[in-house]
């Protein structure tokens, strides 16, 4: 049987770990990990755990669901037709069969869509959950790499797995697939997500022992490599994936070096003021953390096995495994000629998940959800943000699905406060809001020394985010402060006031919006013929009226 826990909701009450201790485990104060594919003999205990969860975060597959079965028969019901005949007999195609795609499909059926539903996925697997891949699966505490997501209902979809979408023709409303086939649609949901950014030197990246971590296969390979007692593991980049891999290495007793080009771990997500604390955590746990350091070369032996890494601090390390944790690339290439507003930044859409075309006009029938969607955030000055969090994939998929089958006046905006979590070195780090929007941060509750604290982030005198280290039960209080743009720093008296709650600079790098790099040409004179077109520098295309700028483009391509 299959289960999934919404760890965005989880507050670490541990009721599940009491009642089904073979399936759910608490690490440290509050970090939950679980076996996503437990034995059926555990069913009663898992039901107890799910019922007891104070925030109802545990979802298990209905008992009559067949393990791993895909149900390809589209069903046709009789349901009151609120969305016109489309809702009854329309055709919806979802590109991307990960959590956003699956959740959207379920939601479409919940909303009464009885037409034909097709899910297209490049990976050969049915939808699976990724967060465990860098945590319990890698550590070997969950027995399987198979983290297939539970089916909360029969979605009656046609599945096209193991075949990538190659292009989109909006004029004919057809999707082209890698096997040469085409699928017509009335409405389309784009949820093709991200892939890991590879190590930029292709020869070095091809060495055995050099890998990235994004897919189920990546996790299986890395787990095997870690089980082979490597002399040392090198983690390149201290974002969340890098930090979690380092944490698992220490859990397994393996020597690990983390090379981070920035001043501290997690700077892009949390800023350097809090990132430094995450760095202390690494050092206390025996990680050889090197900040401000780049990896200049990865060297292999005659068999093509990684043996050595050369760092910009002048040292060299004997390593057998190197994990490139350099962030991600959005899977937009297949949309290059679609006429949609897509680029390295993702696919731009409105707050209702409707895609923009290159002109900036909103489309009616193409929707976007998940990591790839770049949507305006009214709470953050209407900035367009792509939010790469698990919870966002779900909430955005639900809004997109709802809007796909709803009339104009019934549509919803996606205004969910972004949230994420990570578990490293037994500490749960949990965030609400957008910390990177902040200029200042103040540690208001708890103690940094104990690694139990709550930090509030502010921008120009208002609260924009809060981050908890092992204090997540308090975040429910801070979320409304973000929604209501409450004053920063907080002035009220409260329990467990930290000894020094003065705001300090949050320490984010001033980031230019990636969309500023978009190259667009506009043609036509009369209002009815003015058109914008995105150029595609990666394909060697240059804007027709401007000279090529090879320098700028090279820069854009480097990681």
């Amino acid at each position: 049987m299959r289960i999934v826990v919404d760890l965005t909701k989880c507050q670490g009450y541990a009721q599940c770990a009491f009642l089904a201790p073979d399936v759910f485990t608490i690490q440290g104060d509050e970090a939950l990990s679980y076996d996503p594919h437990p034995e059926r003999t555990q069913l009663t205990k898992i039901r107890r755990a799910a019922a007891a969860c104070p925030v109802q975060a545990i979802r298990l597959e209905p008992p009559d669901a067949l393990d791993g079965a895909l149900h390809p028969d589209p069903r046709h019901g009789t349901i009151e037709d609120n969305g016109g005949t489309f809702k009854k007999t329309g055709r919806i195609v979802i590109v991307g069969a990960s959590i956003a795609g699956l959740r959207a499909a379920e939601r479409l059926r919940e909303e009464g869509f009885t037409g034909a539903l097709t899910l297209v996925g490049e990976e050969p697997h049915e939808p699976y959950d990724r967060p465990p891949l860098s945590k319990q699966v890698l550590a070997g505490s969950a027995p399987l790499e198979d983290t297939s997501l539970p089916r909360l209902r029969d979605i009656g979809a046609t599945w096209r797995l193991g075949v990538a979408a190659t292009s989109l023709d909006l004029a004919t409303k057809e999707l082209h697939l890698a096997d040469g086939s085409r699928i017509g649609f009335d409405k389309l949901l784009i949820a093709t997500g991200l892939r890991a950014r590879p190590w930029p030197n292709t020869e070095e990246a091809a060495l055995a022992g050099v890998l990235t971590l994004r897919t189920r296969e990546d996790s299986a390979t890395l787990r095997q490599l870690l089980a082979g007692h490597p002399r040392r593991v090198l983690v390149i980049g201290a974002g969340f994936i890098g930090c979690e891999v380092a944490s698992v290495c220490r859990e397994l007793g393996l020597p690990v070096t983390v090379a981070e080009a920035g001043p501290a771990p997690l700077v892009a997500a949390l800023g350097s003021a809090i990132g430094v604390i995450a760095g202390e955590l690494q050092i206390e746990n025996g990680v050889d953390l090197r900040c401000g350091v780049r990896v200049t070369a990865l060297q292999g032996d005659a068999t093509g096995q990684l043996r050595r890494a050369v760092l910009s601090d002048g040292t060299a390390l004997e390593v057998d495994v190197a994990v490139a944790a350099l962030g991600s690339i959005r899977n937009v290439e297949w949309l290059a000629d679609s006429g949609l507003a897509c680029g390295v930044w993702g696919v731009a859409c409105d707050a209702g998940c409707r895609a923009f075309d290159a002109n900036g006009l909103v489309t009616d029938d193409v929707f976007v959800a998940g990591d790839i969607a770049r949507a305006p955030q009214p709470m953050y000055g209407y900035q367009y943000l792509a939010v790469e969090h698990w919870g966002n994939a779900i909430s955005q998929a639900e809004v997109a699905a709802h809007n796909m089958v709803s009339q104009e006046t019934e549509r919803w905006p996606h205004l969910t406060v972004p949230k994420f979590w990570s578990v490293q070195f037994g500490i749960e780090i949990k965030s609400v809001g957008v910390p990177s929007a902040a200029d200042e941060v103040a540690i208001v509750q708890g103690s940094v020394t104990e690694k139990r604290f709550l930090a509030v982030y502010g921008y120009k005198g208002r609260v924009v985010a809060a981050v908890a280290f092992n204090q997540n039960k308090w975040l429910d209080f801070y979320e409304p402060l973000i929604e209501q743009a409450a004053p920063f720093p907080p002035q009220f008296h409260h329990i467990d006031e930290s000894s020094d709650a003065r705001p300090v600079p949050a320490g984010f790098k001033p980031a230019a919006s990636p969309t500023q790099d978009a190259t667009v040409v506009v043609t036509g004179h009369d209002p009815n013929e003015r058109r914008a077109r995105l150029t595609n520098p990666d394909a060697g295309e240059t804007p027709s009226r401007r000279p090529a700028e090879p320098g700028a483009r090279t820069k854009e391509r480097s990681p």
Partner: protein, 408 residues
């Protein structure tokens, strides 16, 4: 009715059997100020929000009302060292962790689940004893002896000692009866507190000298990474676990049996499908919670909520039983629906003070109610409503006599 008079009706013993219409009245003002300056919170959203609000303190020494009443909660009383129940972080977190080390995750994850066979055994014995009877008392014959046996075994209290503390616990609980004048309340509480403290001191000392495989021995001898609990605090924590560890569960089981007898269709369904008890106990915790309110929380700053500003330094009572039936939170709140989807309730409170023993209570209630449904032949209520115990906040029947045709 003013909020004060609604509250008086709730506290009035004559309404113990059905306080819910008054809770509905109370909810019309989800955050209400009483004459004495204390606040009653009865809306689900407002209670849930205050349970997660760091401007609300559980430190009883801050509380103006508790100070006047000379009262404490459960095991805490005059002269009693506070337990984590009435502390704020970081002390609360530390002492709760120290206690949890021997009871649950992350250090002792299997302890409660591992007690399931023993719970089943006790329940089987208790029901076997009903053989030949046509009238039994659900409270005395099932709902009381199960949790008291379990908590005694868990803590390391000898079975023969049960009668010793029962008298004092009853006395301590009687002292929360609002019908008594404050002086009598205080006197009863002091008397009971003194006896209970002496009992626990003796017990802790015995376990320190000759430790067994029980919670008190572990707390008395184990030096975890955060050190040992100071002796006086161990005594009050031991009493808290002992009293809160069974009094509430007695109510959960007897309220459960009563509710099932009032809903014979659900009782029949439970007979046929034992796993139905799992969501059913959650619904019971919502519908007939064993703890009706959380008293003596204190605001550390002004709090704007539900159109009201609660000033700093005010005493709050969070009326969990009213919040659980808030129609803004659940549909058909007065219906008992065992399979209510997404059943988030306040039966165990919430936030950092969420009931320490919740998993134990759940498992005991699940096992007791399953056996109650399966083994009792044709159970019928002798009187409805049954007689109730005096306490308005630990609310449940004092006796629940039923007629049966036998056991199977």
């Amino acid at each position: 009715m003013t909020q004060d008079s609604i509250w008086e009706q709730i506290l009035d013993y004559s309404n113990r059997a059905n306080p819910y219409p008054f809770y509905a009245e109370l909810r019309r003002t989800p955050v209400a100020r009483l004459q004495d300056g204390a606040y009653l919170v009865s809306g689900y959203a407002e209670i849930a929000s205050l349970l997660h609000d760091p401007r609300v303190s559980s430190d009883i020494s801050h509380n103006p009302v508790a100070a006047d009443a000379g009262a404490g909660e459960d095991g805490d009383g005059p002269g009693m060292t506070p337990t984590f129940l009435s502390m704020d972080p970081p002390d609360h977190d530390k002492f709760r962790r120290i206690t949890m080390r021997h009871f649950g995750p992350p250090t002792t994850p299997g302890r409660v689940a591992g007690m399931e066979p023993r719970m089943t055994e006790i329940v089987t014995e208790l029901i076997d004893k009903m053989e030949g009877s046509t009238r039994v008392d659900v409270v005395d014959d099932l709902a009381y002896p199960l949790p008291v046996t379990i908590i005694c075994e868990l803590l390391g209290v000898a079975p023969g000692d049960e009668h010793r503390f029962r008298t004092w616990v009853d006395l301590a609980l009687q002292s929360t009866d609002p019908g008594l004048d404050p002086e009598t309340q205080q006197k009863k509480r002091a008397e009971a507190g003194k006896e209970l403290r002496a009992f626990m001191e003796e017990l802790v000392e015995a376990h320190r000298k000759a430790p067994g495989n029980d919670l008190l021995s572990a707390l008395a001898t184990d030096d975890g990474p955060e050190g040992r609990m100071p002796p006086e605090q161990l005594v009050s924590t031991g009493l808290l676990l002992l009293i809160a560890g069974h009094e509430t569960t007695v109510n959960l089981i007897s309220n459960g049996a009563l509710t099932l007898l009032r809903h014979p269709h659900e009782l029949q369904r439970l007979r046929e499908d034992p796993d139905l008890v799992i969501p059913m106990v959650e619904e019971l915790l919502r519908y007939e919670p064993p703890v009706h309110f959380v008293p003596f929380r204190t605001t550390l700053d002004d709090i704007d909520i539900a159109g009201t500003t609660i000033p700093a330094g005010a005493s709050l009572t969070l009326v969990l039983a009213a919040g659980n039936r808030d129609p803004a939170h659940v549909t058909d709140p007065d219906c008992f629906m065992p399979e209510r989807p997404d059943n988030q309730h306040l039966g165990f409170g919430g936030g950092i003070h969420l009931c320490f023993g919740a998993p134990l209570a759940r498992l005991e209630a699940q096992i007791a109610l399953t056996a109650f449904a399966r083994r009792l032949e044709n159970p019928r209520l002798v009187s409805d409503p049954p007689p109730y115990r005096p306490s308005p906040f630990l609310r449940g029947p004092s006796h629940l006599p039923i007629d049966i045709d036998g056991i199977r």
